[in-house]
Symmetry: C2
Subunit: 334 residues, 2 copies
């Protein structure tokens, strides 16, 4: 039986398997260094649809179907579909749930959504109420920019610490039996806020959440960073990654095997993405694609995913509030 | 150990207790017939704050603190805070989670959010990974109207089938041990869409989701409506309630002890709410206040809550999509 440890962590027993995953990417992602690990690349932002929102929905649906195919499962075998995304009213997820017709649990954790969905799925499978759960998320650069900032057609000048919302989707199937790495532990985040008010400085805003959750994870489970072959944050980008490392060093942790998905998904020297990738799909595409395949090949055996999210809205920023942030951690072990 | 039954239902074992609840309402709710069952009424829509969004946040936070007080619990004893609301990026919930500093699981199910949060909380408590979980939700008439339709100051003329978003909040504490009714079964909804495109006709849009989930509940658990003292839908209102009853009769079910929170929270003859109440807080205030107290007094012993939600956004409606809907059911038994 799964066991709560401390105030934020759970050791999963029996640990469920992340039995199959799929990822899709958009045009910029298709020109990045991890393109070869994506199951499908859409070379156009509209993906043949009439709106960016419809394109994001198409990518998420396609990704879910690809994950089912790779897991040799059909929709009737999935007990819950747990999903969320950045668009208002999490429409990509809700409309995907309509098409899939699987009992649907909608979640929202901004760019931490992947780990929120995977954590809940792992708890339900370990708890014996589900055989298979599909966790999924998506983001789209043009739909997100329009909603959170300005339509991309306006040609808004980005500051160098801004990040580039990833266009794509990721889906993972959590199974009671099967192959693949096990989800052995989760650490659920508390919301923190260190006073950052600039909605273009999300990496710096989210860094303290990643540090907070990671320190709880190490303390509660009595592990240190050397336990993991790889610690992977979601989308801190070049600026947030540095802030995060500074906090961790100040707190007495070294992080020798640490990477951030936001700095991996693009070629930061050649692609105009400023401080790196962000968005729900950033960690989803990197962790469920490139990293998952390397775990399956045995190149990594213990990976800690730390997905970070900023829980503001344009309204809260215009009203002068600072940005509350959260991070959820999840351990994958061979 | 909890047991999955059919494709959508779970029988909870050991069934957790809904050990304490609290509700707060706004000015219109304070003039309605259920005002006496609310823990606090705010006589002004701004509740002393500078924006409607800040007022909604204040109501939700206050409601969570009231529930903790009534349950004789402090925040450190709550293992998870599960919440969602109607505002973009579910800001009321995220900002409340910052103040409460409890590990936070953000959810989104539009007006079905209460049951989504209660269901997940019940699964986690029954699964042994939590002693106490707080589930909460809120809505505010003025913040919702501004976001989904027009600022209320514009004086938009409402059609008679429109519903009035409830201002208020509800919080419930789910506990492994303690008093109060038990959460014995849940039925998680699938998203359905019967083609309604009018975002002011949400009651009619949501009625098929309520029917779909309720029929699955009865079939999977081999129960019929007579099992319950009361079946309570969330916010179908006068129009949706009638559509729902017509569907159920056509499917061979009579519903002798059926009510809808949207028709209970206001005096429909005296208050200008058209077809009744709606919003996340509608079922939250009615079920966690008035109905919960009647269950505790033994006036009802078996109540089925059916919370319905519409998963559209203003963008999906403007782009010509119909409205996907969902309903989650949850059984409370003495």
């Amino acid at each position: 039986m799964s066991q709560r440890v401390g105030t934020q962590s759970v050791l999963l027993d029996p640990p469920p398997y992340l039995s199959a995953t799929a990822t899709v990417g958009g045009p910029m992602e298709g020109q990045g260094p991890l393109a070869g690990d994506m199951d499908r690349i859409y070379n156009r932002l509209l993906a043949g649809e009439k709106s960016f929102e419809a394109a994001e929905l198409k990518m998420l649906e396609e990704c879910c179907l690809l994950a089912l195919g790779k897991g040799n499962l059909n929709v009737d075998e999935i007990d819950y579909f747990i999903a969320g995304d950045l668009l208002n009213q999490t429409i990509s997820s809700g409309f995907s749930a309509l098409k899939l017709s699987i009992p649907y649990l909608g979640v929202y954790g901004a760019c931490s959504t992947l780990n929120l969905a995977l954590s809940l799925g792992a708890l339900l499978v370990a708890g014996g109420v589900a055989q298979h759960v599909m966790a999924a998320t998506s983001s789209h650069n043009s739909s997100a920019e329009r909603q959170y900032r300005y339509p991309t057609e306006y040609g808004f000048k980005r500051p160098p610490h801004a990040q580039w919302t990833v266009t794509g989707a990721g889906a993972g199937i959590i199974s009671r039996e099967g192959g693949g790495p096990k989800i052995t532990a989760i650490t659920t985040g508390k919301v923190v806020d260190l006073g950052v008010k600039d909605p273009l400085a999300l990496g710096a805003a989210m860094a303290p959440a990643a540090a907070s959750t990671l320190i709880s994870h190490f303390q509660e489970l009595e592990r240190d960073p050397s336990y993991y072959d790889l610690i992977l944050t979601g989308d801190l980008g070049q600026v947030g990654r540095q802030v995060y490392q500074e906090i961790m060093v100040r707190e007495g942790y070294s992080l020798p095997r640490y990477h951030d998905c936001g700095t991996m998904i693009y070629n930061l020297e050649r692609q105009p993405v400023d401080a790196g990738g962000s968005g729900c799909a950033c960690i989803a595409v990197v962790a469920l694609g490139h990293i998952y395949q390397r775990i399956r090949r045995g190149e990594f055996n213990r990976v800690l995913l730390v997905a970070t999210g900023a829980l503001h809205s344009p309204t809260t920023c215009l009203q002068g509030n600072s940005i509350p942030v959260i991070a959820h951690a999840l351990a994958l072990e061979n």
